[in-house]
Symmetry: C2
Subunit: 143 residues, 2 copies
């Protein structure tokens, strides 16, 4: 997803140590153009690194808390993780294929919500708006 982000820099600006494990996690997520579940990430990493499953969960939680990653939800029960919006990444919606379970990022322009009016009238504090389109992807439609 990102040739623009310097993960080490991202971590440092959040006052986090740029440990090898954290960089590995960011590289896996950043090099995939779609959000991944914790299990996905762990499975990729364990092939090449001696990393513990719990460590992956802890890193994901930490990075979400520091707004480096964002947690997304499918209709299913696993959480998915993607790079959080930053200067290189505009907030964008996601598409979830009900048949194959694949989650994809949509281009920021294609789908957005007009939340200005909402923000003015809503009595609470708004942190983010998550938009997810569910359906069947073109690959699954072909079959």
């Amino acid at each position: 997803m990102c040739q623009h982000c310097n993960y080490s820099q991202l971590l440092k600006s959040a006052s986090l140590e740029a440990t090898a494990n954290r960089l590995h996690v960011l590289e896996v997520i950043g090099s995939c153009n779609c959000p991944l579940s914790a299990t996905d990430i762990y499975k990729v990493l364990e092939r090449t690194e001696a990393i513990n499953r719990v460590t992956v969960y802890r890193i994901l939680d930490l990075l979400v808390e520091h707004h480096i990653l964002e947690r997304l939800s499918t209709g299913g029960r696993a959480a998915y993780y993607g790079l959080a919006p930053n200067e290189h990444h505009a907030p964008h919606a996601h598409f979830y294929c009900r048949r194959c379970g694949q989650m994809d990022c949509l281009h920021p322009e294609t789908l957005s919500v007009d939340s200005e009016l909402f923000k003015k009238t809503f009595p609470g504090e708004i942190a983010r708006v998550e938009i997810r389109v569910d359906g069947i992807c073109k690959n699954c439609l072909r079959q």
Copy 2:
């Protein structure tokens, strides 16, 4: 949420038997103005009915599959369930409070997405668009 829906009728039009358990589940969801998790529903039901937790899960799955209920996701790991859009219920967005975990329905007009352009250009099939606003609700802000 609904004085207009005849649950028994809803089930019959989906060719499903209107069993007591299914009606109970629908009544619990329909009489709450916010989506509920499977556990929420089970806890309400077990106070008055002899119903099994697994039965609740199965009924929820069945009703989602038949588009009587819709499954919603919070940032957390539990799925939430609400009545699916139908002639009495316009599709609407939801608000999830990060502090108290409460999920609320928003009025259909306050927040909607312009998906016409998207529908024309997207190469897959679109079943629904889920919009969730995350933040802190007004009750939590007061504290």
